[in-house]
């Protein structure tokens, strides 16, 4: 089933069960973990990690972002950090009623301008800071998404079926994508998904993860549910640092991942979050 078909079903379900939705706690209890690892080739050549991520939480919303600095640049990693941190900072200081896709657009343009200013100071080309971006503001009933390039986001309901919210954005050719600083405003895609209460889990990821968990046929449920499972065992809201560390180790060392990523340069970054009901502890 396509995402849109599924999404229509989600909306319909919510309309039918409004009482149930209203009976939920005022704000969702998000639990999340995040990790980034260098691509095997970058590690071997001792090249820096050029992916970055950031997250922040307020009672009424969760912010998450991943970014992939362009491998052809020397400062793509710096661009990725600058962009994700700028967005996080702006998320923290923006009034709740202003959080949405217009705010994301504004913050990205500010970061774009900061990159131009930095390039002027350093007397380098602004494209040297090129980075992709996927950012989301998840409120209780909406997801506001900003996408530039081939980083992407998937969502799942309680049934563990994953769908892409938006496909990675590539040019016609496999080795072409889009970046901040923006060459044109059309390279920035903004989406708002409403009535998302039934979407209980989110995964944000860069292209190194997409190669492992997404094909043209869609999202590999088993792949994302693997990373989600430990979070579903937890009831405490917030960032689970121990899961992030374990995720990092597995992203680096899992034999199936190592086999697939040998000789590949792409860094791998994944943030996974859920507000689903914690599963009861496993019994033997």
């Amino acid at each position: 089933m396509s995402f849109l078909a599924r999404f229509r079903r989600i909306i319909a379900v919510n309309h039918e069960t409004q009482e149930e939705v209203a009976a939920q706690p005022l704000h969702a209890c998000w639990r999340w973990a995040a990790a980034r690892v260098r691509g095997e080739l970058h590690e071997r050549l001792n090249q820096p990690l050029q992916d970055a991520y950031a997250f922040a939480h307020r009672p009424e919303a969760l912010f998450m972002a991943v970014a992939d600095g362009a491998g052809s640049t020397s400062n793509g990693g710096r661009g990725a950090i600058l962009l994700t941190r700028h967005l996080r900072q702006r998320f923290r200081e923006t009034p709740a009623e202003e959080l949405g896709d217009a705010a994301l657009r504004q913050w990205i343009l500010e970061a774009d301008e900061r990159m131009h200013a930095l390039a002027r100071r350093r007397e380098c080309a602004v494209w040297d800071f090129s980075t992709t971006l996927l950012a989301v503001i998840a409120t209780d009933d909406a997801f506001h998404v900003a996408q530039v390039g081939d980083s992407s986001i998937a969502v799942a309901g309680a049934d563990g079926e994953w769908d892409l919210l938006c496909w990675p954005k590539n040019g016609e050719y496999s080795n072409v994508t889009f970046f901040v600083p923006l060459r044109t405003l059309e390279d920035m895609h903004l989406y708002t998904f409403r009535n998302t209460q039934a979407c209980t889990s989110l995964a944000l990821f860069t292209d190194g993860i997409a190669d492992l968990g997404v094909s043209d046929a869609g999202v590999a449920n088993g792949f994302f549910n693997y990373w989600l499972a430990p979070l579903l065992q937890r009831s405490q809201c917030g960032h689970h640092h121990d899961i992030s560390l374990a995720m990092r180790q597995r992203l680096r060392e899992h034999p199936a991942i190592r086999e697939r990523t040998e000789g590949v340069g792409d860094d791998r970054t994944l943030i996974i979050a859920t507000r689903g009901a914690p599963c009861p502890p496993a019994t033997t």
Binding site: D68, G69, A70, G71, S72, T73, G76, S130, T132, G149, D150, N170, E172, Y173, S174, N175, V176, T177, F179, D207, D211, L212, G213, V214, S215, D216, A217, V219, A220, N221, G222, F223, Y226, A229, P230, D242, I243, L245, A246, M247, Q249, R250, H254, A256, I257, R260, G263, V264, G265, D266
Partner: protein, 223 residues
């Protein structure tokens, strides 16, 4: 700690289709190529096949179409490098270069449509014209199509002149990328082509392409 959190469950990975890296070789097999040139061209093709197959990634991503042309324009449609078996070409006839270029670009457009239909990601195609002579047919439309295609980033077009080629005509066809082959160094040319396609076939968005230097086969380059 990692085992406590994730256990040792199997991790399912998505099956991804291989990206495709298409290349069209437009090969002049007119009578002026008879003798050593055609022998060296055939040898170069065999070396290309071997070399691209030695590269584990390239052999599953590079796709090759051959368009040998003389009086007739022959077509060997796209085939994945691991299945590519080079024909033994024979030299005879005149140089219908314009028709060959148009046929090659048609093949390429058809291939792209197939990629799109099957959601197969692909790289920007390369078109390689190798000739030692003057076109004997009208090349005006072919020149126009090459210029449009290059300008719209539809493909990258290389025009390689072998000894005796009219370089002015090649420059007219491909002002950006024209080169003259050193002697009969087809072997070096095809090794370079194989290595270059290998580099492209493993490139990712944002990567800086590091193509091998063409000094071993290139006598002069016109930029």
């Amino acid at each position: 700690m990692t085992d406590e959190i994730y256990g040792s469950d199997d991790l399912d990975l998505a099956e991804n289709p291989e990206r495709r890296c298409p290349a069209v070789l437009l090969l002049d097999v007119s009578s002026s190529m008879a003798g050593q040139p055609i022998e060296e061209l055939n040898r170069g093709l065999r070396i290309f096949t071997q070399s691209v197959n030695d590269d584990e990634i390239a052999r599953n991503r590079v796709e090759v179409a051959l368009v040998p042309f003389s009086t007739d324009v022959e077509v060997h449609d796209f085939v994945i490098a691991s299945d590519f078996r080079p024909p033994t070409l024979e030299a005879d006839g005149v140089t219908n270069m314009g028709a060959a270029i148009l046929r090659g670009l048609e093949l390429l457009e058809d291939r792209k449509q197939r990629y799109k239909q099957h959601n197969i990601p692909y790289y920007r195609p390369w078109v390689f014209l190798i000739t030692d002579g003057l076109p004997t047919d009208d090349i005006q439309l072919a020149v126009q199509r090459v210029h449009e295609g290059v300008q719209n980033s539809k493909f990258i077009f290389f025009a390689i002149g072998v000894e005796g080629a009219d370089m002015n005509v090649l420059r007219l066809i491909s002002p950006q990328r024209t080169a003259k082959l050193k002697g009969l160094k087809f072997r070096e040319l095809f090794e370079w082509l194989s290595n270059s396609l290998g580099e492209i076939s493993r490139s990712r968005p944002g990567d800086k392409l590091k193509l091998p230097r063409p000094d071993s086969w290139m006598d002069e380059i016109e930029v």
